[in-house]
Amino acid sequence: MSAPIMRLFATIVLLFAILVVWTSRWSVLDAKDLRDNALNKRPLLAQLHVKRGAIKAADGALLARSVRGPGGTFRRAYPSGALFGHPVGYAVIALNQLAGIERYRNDELSGQGDELGSLADQLQGKREQGDTVITTLDPQAQRIATEQLAATGSPGAVVALDPRTGAVKVMASSPGYDPNKLGDPGVFRALNSSGSGAPLLDRSTQSSYAPGSTFKVVTAAAAIDSGKYTPDSVIDGSSPKPISGVPLRNDLGESFGPITLTAAMTNSVNTVFGQIGEALGKQTMADYMRRFGFYSKPPLDYPADEMLASGERLNGRLLPVTSPQVDVGRMAIGQDKLAVTPMQMAMVVAAIANGGRLMTPHLADRIVDPDGRTVDRIEPQLASTPVSPQTAEQVNQMMRTVVESGTGTAVQLPGISVAGKTGTAEIGTVGANLTQPSFVAFAPADNPRIAIAVTVERSQGGFGGTVAAPIARAVLESLLS
């Protein structure tokens, strides 16, 4: 009976070999797929046990921190409540919901930055702990921007950058939400439901608006930088004027006659900029728009799907400037089908303010590990050079006259020269008198430290200079004092 016993044992060995193969399959060969499987709650559970790093404002104020929950888990707390809901976002690990900086910097915050380091930590028996993200945000200015936006009674957004470095100082979107309350799935549903006013939407990067006359900054920059115009070029500012075969009117039908480009900027003369747009042509306008960052998502350290590319849009899709469906004359005055985020407009004025050099905008200043060592510092980086320093200086001068004597006098600050441009897009049905006021500015004009873009979504007959400019003024005042 010995041969059958040997064969039987061989069969048992074979069966055990199958067990080893199958165990290898799940634990090693297919492990990655299994870990990524949507049904698998373990990676989520692992994250719950990680003490995420804090998120801090530029002055060190805590914007997000981890507090102990039951059973060795952690949950997120946001000491400033709704104030930084938008740039900071939220991390509700138990519901697998992440947004904003919490999402973009998730690897650093949850300590998964580098595999080798975490392995070494594990061998030393260290509890997993994430790195702290110190942002460039200014709590005081963020508070003023949020309060001022809320006071308009309309949704809107404010973005303020340091044009020299790209550091984002203010990123406010109204209405906001309190990220502390998102642990409740019911609250999540309520905030996402229609009729909630979409408070989770970050209007500074995710909503696109008709820029109105603020876009004339781009047109003026293209006009001068292309060499076809100077600030002193004289153009016929009478109204109406046929643009693309359809008569275009100035505000209130005002007819200016022949005026300089600077004067046209100061008084926001539509017919002049419409003609310039037609004269420059679609290709030139397209080139300059791309240089300023249009037609791609802002190079911000923020989740890509929480940002929108600016440009001409038709049925929600980007439409090239060169398309026959684009009315370049009306686009040049910020109308037609232009859809622009406040972040993009802030980038435009930041580039003008910084001598034509657009710095990559960034929210994070540095990453600090649990031992207090700085592991990463976000250095200023040049994104592009849309226009020459000379062009930038000339557009700067033109924008100063807007604040000194034009449509933007409401932004004047004592002792500080401000350069700006108003915008008032008409929305809704003709005669409803609904507007979308916006304002872009930078200051001090001779040595710019702050560039700002303000958009108010809806106003009953308000103008950029009356509704949006005062908000910009308050934020600038806070940031420059």
Partner: protein, 436 residues
């Protein structure tokens, strides 16, 4: 070196393992009782094993020296893993371990001449069948996940009769086939290219098959049936050397399994889940267990998370892995010790089986050989059924991982199995020694 001295040395790694294991779990729990308590646990365990060893020295001096240390490794490892899951359960398991050692000693004392068992083979077979049917008796039977595998003994525990029945069935088969194996082979005829044994002698075997199938229906557990039927075929094959019997047997079993897999809802569920373990539709109910078993293994990887590092509970307190201390303990092992640790555990089981088959080869009489073959086969098949279930090689069913899973019945029965193997071994080696 004498067999018993080798056994003594073999116990050292087992004790080190239990000490190191408890130490690892204590460290992970951040406990300050590390220094003395883990050593105490190791010492108590070593003391118990030494006592058993001294007993073996006196009672079975010729018995296989490796079996007991191998089992001690498995049992100590099981204790550590259970402790890591739930320390209350581990204390209970330690008590079961002591009771198991007691039953082990009693078996050896009272069954010194285990061949007496042959006289009671029909009684043993009948008792085993009654045991198997007990879980279906209303009032005392306990249904777990649709299968009828337990008998509730109020206030004590849920008794698992299959664990004991498997030994009884193997004793009966070894005894019955010792008598009839010559007849089965001699009277076989070739019909349509397949060698079939004479109906007269094969009849009882068909009855066994029928009973196995019936059991499948009664206890509704594919895995247990596979274990019983596999052991039956193993003993039958060794007794007759006829592969054709095995082929026919497997075909019949396959037929029965197919019928059940397509007609009994609870078994059908298991088969569906087996075919598509990560189906999102089935995940919230029937698929949850196997899917999380696979996720736990993926979490372990090559080297594992380390003792005490695997997630066992959801934030709400519910288990992420159902039945981690019994059915899914292998998944916990892979999670914490990785593929490497799991292979080491499987290798230990394979070594136990190898010693069992070695004993069968050494045995001088047919009953002893067939008994050793049957016990080794049923032991190895039990490991295959539960590990195969947890790794989705076969549909997952509720049998225990011998000596490691939490459970009194399992531990007691497997200690009886070990005692029988050592008894056979002692006789075989004593005779071999005497013949030299």
């Amino acid at each position: 070196m004498s067999a018993r001295n080798r056994e003594l040395l073999g116990l050292i790694p087992a004790s080190l393992l239990v000490t190191a294991g408890f130490a690892a779990v204590f460290i992970q729990q951040g406990s300050d009782q590390l220094s003395n308590l883990s050593l105490t646990y190791g010492a108590i365990f070593l003391g118990l094993c030494l006592a058993a060893h001294v007993f073996l020295r006196i009672a079975l001096p010729y018995a296989d020296p490796y079996l007991f240390p191998l089992v001690a490794v498995l049992a100590s490892f099981g204790l550590v893993v259970i402790y890591r899951i739930d320390d209350t359960l581990a204390r209970q398991q330690a008590q079961w371990f002591i009771a198991g050692l007691g039953l082990f000693v009693a078996t050896i004392v009272f069954l010194r001449d285990y061949r007496k068992l042959e006289q009671y083979r029909y009684l043993i077979a009948a008792a085993s069948l009654v045991l198997l049917c007990l879980p279906r008796v209303p009032g005392i039977g306990a249904q777990v996940n649709g299968a009828y595998l337990g008998v509730r003994i109020p206030g004590v525990f849920v008794f698992q009769p299959t664990e004991f029945a498997k030994i009884g069935i193997v004793i009966f088969l070894a005894s019955y086939l010792r008598d009839t194996r010559q007849l089965l082979v001699a009277g076989a005829r070739r019909i349509a290219g397949i060698t079939l044994p004479p109906l007269k002698h094969f009849g009882p075997l068909l009855v066994i098959w029928g009973i196995a199938m019936l059991l499948l229906v009664v206890i509704r557990d594919l895995g247990s049936s596979l274990m019983f039927f596999g052991a039956f075929l193993a003993v039958l094959y060794v007794a007759t050397s006829r592969v054709s019997f095995v082929v026919v047997g497997l075909a019949l079993f396959g037929l029965g399994a197919w019928y059940l897999g397509t007609h009994v809802p609870h078994v059908t569920d298991r088969v569906d889940v087996w075919l598509d373990p990560l189906n999102a539709h089935r995940y919230p109910n029937v698929g949850y267990q196997i899917a999380n078993s696979l996720f736990a293994q993926a979490d372990g990887g090559l080297l594992g998370r380390g003792f005490g590092e695997a997630f066992l509970f959801l934030p709400g307190g519910g288990p992420i892995l159902p039945a981690p201390q019994t059915d899914l303990i292998y998944a916990v092992i892979v999670n914490e010790l990785g593929l490497v640790g799991a292979v080491a555990v499987l290798a230990t089981y394979l070594l136990v089986a190898q010693r069992g088959f070695k004993i069968a080869l050494l045995a001088r009489d047919s009953f002893s050989t067939l008994l050793a073959v049957g016990l080794s086969a049923v032991f190895a098949l039990q490991v295959f059924v539960i590990v195969g279930g947890v790794t989705n090689v076969i549909p997952l069913t509720g049998v225990t991982l011998p000596f490691i899973s939490y459970g009194g019945s399992s531990l007691l029965a497997n200690f009886v199995l070990l005692a029988l193997l050592l008894l056979v071994s002692d006789r075989a080696r004593r005779e071999a020694e005497g013949a030299r």
